[in-house]
C-alpha cells in the first residue's frame, strides 16, 4: 500500500467569485448536490483558504476583487492548483475590454486548468477538477524532490587582479 496514492483522494475546494454573474456558481453548487455528488471523490467545498487545495475561480476579475483574489491565492498553502471556471474567468468573456474588468484571472495568478463554457456545465467542472488533481499530484512530487545545488570548479579565474591594474608607483629618485 503506497501512501502517495492517497494524495489526490481528498482535494478540498475553495470557491471564489471574482465578479461572476452567478451562472457558473450555480453550476458549481449543482456539482455538490445529489445528482453529481462530487463528495464521492472526497471533494469538500471548504470556505477556508488555509485548508484547501483547489482554488475554483469564476468571473472576470473586477477591479474590486483582484486584490482579494491574489490574497486568497497567497493564503493557500502549497501544493495548490487553480481552476478557472467559465469563459469570463478564462479570457474575460463578454466583459473583455470593459473599463471595470480585467481579461481573465491568469493576468494575476497562475492558472493550471481552464474550463470553458458560459456557464460551464457540471460535467465539465468535474472533468476540470479531476484534471487538476493530476497536476496537484505532480506538484506534490515536485515539492518532495530534494534540490541539489551544483558546485563546479572554476576553470579560469576571470577576476581582475588588483595588482595588475594598480597605478605604478614611481620610485623617487
Amino acid at each position: 500500500m503506497k501512501l502517495n496514492s492517497f494524495r489526490k483522494k481528498s482535494p478540498w475546494i475553495l470557491h471564489y467569485n471574482a465578479g461572476s454573474c452567478n451562472g457558473c456558481d450555480i453550476e458549481i453548487l449543482a456539482c455538490l448536490a445529489p445528482k453529481y455528488d462530487i463528495e464521492r471523490f472526497g471533494i469538500i467545498n471548504t470556505g477556508n483558504p488555509k485548508q484547501s487545495d483547489v482554488l475554483l475561480v469564476t468571473g472576470p476579475v473586477t477591479k474590486r476583487s483582484r486584490e482579494r483574489l491574489v490574497e486568497i491565492y497567497a493564503q493557500m498553502p502549497e501544493p495548490k492548483v487553480v481552476v478557472s471556471c467559465g469563459a469570463c474567468a478564462c479570457t474575460g468573456g463578454v466583459f473583455r475590454g470593459m473599463y471595470n474588468c480585467e481579461g481573465g484571472i491568469d493576468q494575476y495568478i497562475p492558472v493550471d486548468v481552464y474550463v470553458c463554457g458560459c456557464g460551464s456545465r457540471p460535467e465539465q467542472i468535474i472533468d476540470g477538477v479531476i484534471e487538476a488533481l493530476a497536476i496537484l499530484e505532480k506538484k506534490t512530487k515536485d515539492l518532495e524532490q530534494s534540490i541539489r545545488l551544483k558546485k563546479e570548479p572554476v576553470k579560469e579565474d576571470t577576476q581582475l587582479n588588483r595588482r595588475d591594474i594598480a597605478a605604478e608607483i614611481k620610485e623617487i629618485a
Partner: protein
C-alpha cells in the same frame, strides 16, 4: 490484567475508531440525502493529505494550543475508558475545549473570535446538564467512578430514563451538529476556531473531532453499561438520531440554543435528579 487490556487497547485505537465512525457518518449522511457519499476511509485520506501540506502557522502559541486541545481530549477519553471519576472526565473535557477557545482568541481573525465566543456559549449549554447527569449517577451508584456504573446491578437507562433524554438534547451541541452547530457554522463563520489552523496543525483539530465522537458515544454507552447488547443498541440509536437530526434541521441562533438548553434540557436533568433522590428515599 484482562480488565485493563481492553480499555488500553481502546484508548490507543481511539483515533482510528473515531476516524472510522466519522467516515461511516459521512456515508450515512450522504445516503440520507440520496447521494453515494465518500469512501469509508475518507477521513484517513484527508489525514494523509493534510500531512503533506505546507505548514503555515499564525504564531507558535496558537499551534501549540491546538495540539494541546487534542492531547487533553485524548487524556479525558483515557480517564473515561479506564473507569475514572466522571466529574474529572467532564472537567478535563472542559479544559480541552477551553484550550481551543484560548487558541481562537489568540489570533486577530474575526471569524476565529466569533467561533471562540460561540464555543464558550455551547459549553454553557451542555456542561451543567452533563454534571447533573453525573450527579444522578452518583446518587444511584454511590460513586462518581465510571467503573461503579459498570458494576451497578441494573442499567442506568431504566433507572434514570430522563437523564438519557437530557443527554440526547445536549449531544448535538457537543458534537457540533445541526440544529446546534453554531460553534462551527460552515456557512457563516467557516469553521470558527479551526479557521486559522492549517496543514499538520489542523490535523490535531481534525482528529480531536473524531475523538469527540468516541467520547460522546461512550457517554451514551454508559447508560447501558451493564448489558453490552443494550449499550451497543443505545450507541446505534444515538448515532442514527443525531445524524437524522443533523440532516433534517436548520441551524438556530445562539440565543435559541441557550434558551433550549437552559429551559428544556437542564430542568429535565434536574427533575431526573430529584426523582432519583425520591426513589432512593422510598
Amino acid at each position: 490484567m484482562k480488565d485493563i487490556l481492553i480499555p488500553v487497547l481502546l484508548i490507543l485505537l481511539a483515533p482510528a475508531i473515531g476516524g472510522l465512525v466519522y467516515g461511516f457518518e459521512r456515508i450515512v449522511k450522504a445516503r440520507m440525502q440520496r447521494r453515494t457519499g465518500p469512501p469509508l476511509l475518507q477521513p484517513f485520506y484527508d489525514f494523509l493529505k493534510l500531512a503533506d501540506k505546507r505548514k503555515m502557522i499564525v504564531h507558535s502559541t496558537h499551534a501549540f494550543l491546538g495540539i494541546m486541545h487534542f492531547v487533553s481530549l485524548w487524556f479525558a477519553l483515557a480517564v473515561l475508558l479506564l473507569g475514572g471519576d466522571l466529574i474529572l472526565v467532564i472537567f478535563l473535557h472542559l479544559l480541552s475545549t477551553s484550550l481551543l477557545i484560548l487558541a481562537g482568541y489568540s489570533t486577530r481573525s474575526i471569524f476565529s473570535h466569533l467561533g471562540a465566543n460561540r464555543t464558550a456559549i455551547s459549553i454553557l449549554c451542555y456542561e451543567p446538564v452533563l454534571i447533573l447527569i453525573a450527579v444522578s449517577a452518583f446518587m444511584l451508584t454511590g460513586s462518581f467512578d465510571t467503573s461503579s456504573i459498570f458494576n451497578y446491578g441494573a442499567s442506568l437507562l431504566f433507572k434514570m430514563p430522563l437523564a438519557f433524554v437530557a443527554l440526547l438534547m445536549v449531544l448535538p451541541i457537543k458534537l457540533k451538529k445541526s440544529p446546534f452547530d453554531i460553534a462551527e457554522g460552515h456557512q457563516e463563520i467557516t469553521g470558527g476556531v479551526e479557521l486559522e489552523f492549517s496543514g499538520i496543525f489542523y490535523e490535531a483539530i481534525y482528529i480531536a473531532k473524531w475523538l469527540d465522537c468516541v467520547f460522546c458515544y461512550t457517554l451514551a454507552y454508559l447508560f447501558g453499561a451493564n448489558d453490552p447488547l443494550l449499550g451497543m443498541g443505545l450507541v446505534l440509536f444515538v448515532f442514527l438520531f443525531i445524524n437524522g437530526l443533523d440532516n433534517s434541521s436548520a441551524r438556530v441562533n445562539y440565543k435559541q440554543m441557550l434558551k433550549f438548553s437552559l429551559v428544556v434540557a437542564l430542568p429535565i436533568a434536574f427533575i431526573n435528579l430529584l426523582i432519583t433522590i425520591l426513589f432512593l428515599q422510598l
